[in-house]
Assembly symmetry: C2
Homo-oligomer: 276 residues x 2
């Protein structure tokens, strides 16, 4: 199988490491605008070689787009030359705008997906082999993908040990706003609220596991997250609104010293973990 990976950062690099273990007779060819990344990816052995031009992927079995969501939209429009058998899988964190912009002529080639995994690190050196194992991947609007492509994607991610969910792209974007995008906005806000204090160092010196966990994703790439907030703007604003309603309620109960209601409200929050 010939696999092209566009974007050799955490997601693309980790994908390369993971499939290498699962397929024999594999050629992995990388592509990245960032020359430093292609060099690093070669040095780390993530890819067998790098492509100079996207057109080199013409007859590839699989092309994976592991780049920020705006770049996915732009790149997928340039892939109209691929063979009918090629499967294109994008890893974008938003899905509606991407599926809307896929050129009609290659719509069946594309499997719009969102692997619900990642770390706060980025670049080829952040790649880890087990990033995908045991995690969820969402396939969106799968009925628009060709039978061959849907099958290949299903087999591939099953082999990687992922749990596959199917969802409408709009529904995905709503859910992703709550489970991922808005929490990133919170983490960035938390980090900045501490950084704005008179002596952030003295505060941060006291950080225990709770703060570290909550501020971890505030380390994420502003580049990538700018794109996500832009592409999923409406849903993110809606999720922030819903979060703020809860925080306002919590604040009001503390202000009014209504400890009984606060107790019930916290108990309700505890119940999340019966589901999680």
């Amino acid at each position: 199988m010939r696999v092209g990976i566009i974007g050799l950062g955490l997601m693309g690099g980790s994908f390369a490491l993971a499939i290498r273990k699962k397929y024999e007779d594999l050629e992995i060819v990388g592509y990245d605008h960032n020359d430093q990344h292609t060099l690093e990816a070669l040095e780390l052995g993530l890819v067998d070689r790098v492509a100079e031009e996207l057109s080199e992927f013409r007859d590839f079995d699989l092309i994976v787009l592991a780049i920020p969501v705006d770049a996915i939209v732009a790149t997928i429009k340039q892939l109209t030359f691929v063979s009918p058998k090629t499967t294109i899988i994008d890893f974008g964190s938003t899905k509606k705008k991407i599926v809307d912009e896929v050129p009609e002529s290659i719509r069946e080639n594309v499997v719009a997906s969102h692997p619900m995994t990642g770390t706060e690190k980025f670049g080829p050196s952040a790649a880890i082999e087990n990033l995908y194992r045991g995690k969820v991947i969402v396939f969106c609007d799968i009925e628009e993908s060709g039978t061959h492509q849907a099958k290949l994607a299903r087999e591939l991610f099953s082999k990687l040990g992922m749990k596959i969910f199917y969802m409408d792209a709009s529904e995905h974007d709503k859910h992703a706003a709550y489970i991922s995008h808005m929490p990133h906005a919170l983490s960035f806000s938390l980090a900045n609220s501490v950084m704005n204090q008179e002596n952030p160092k003295a505060i941060i010196a006291l950080a225990g596991g709770g703060f570290k966990d909550m501020s971890r994703i505030a380390k994420s790439s502003p580049n990538m997250w700018g794109d996500i907030f832009r592409q999923n703007r409406e849903n993110v604003l809606e999720a922030i609104k819903s979060f703020r309603k809860e925080l306002d309620f919590c604040e009001e109960l503390i202000r009014k010293e209504d400890w009984d209601s606060l107790y019930s409200w916290m108990q309700k929050a505890n119940r999340l973990h019966d589901i999680l």
Copy 2:
């Protein structure tokens, strides 16, 4: 050394496990209002025996208070019978109210401390031996403690591998509001904002590491956290205000589609991790 541990949950139980490894010739006696907890603590071997009455701790070398902060205030007032050599260490997450309420006659016995560690779990079965190792402990208003007591506390927590910080109780409470108490309010709010959606299960099915990390402390005990929010009310409200200012700013930038400013704002948040 004879050690009394009042409160046999996560903090008290883990403390018992940790000191057992560091001191020979140790008797650890537990005390807990909850009979189930004392039974479990005995079964798990956390303590050698349990006390029926606080007065049994009269001549003990060390008494540790690992109970919710309101209970610390109430209990410490009942410990006026202790010998002049006894060291009383409380593990409360808030400090100002506690130091203000220590009876004058035993003020030198008390070392007001806050170990910056924990997990979202509770009860004796949650106890783990390495909860304290490598973590920060804050001693507040240490100049009010007796020389003997301050020395014992320093030696004890150094042996457990903790990093000791010294701080004014009021300053501690302000910092703790930012680094611990307000983040708990956020985590509870995040959990409830998802639980309030039409289909929380469908959303939570997609949860990756980011959401899991951010909602982990929403599992914490409403009992314990009600007390903390009550005792540190002013500072918690202030920290929530400061957080909300950041979230409002983030929301406004997304609403106005001011992506450049959003980028800079996220970059600033990234810098937290140069300090953390």
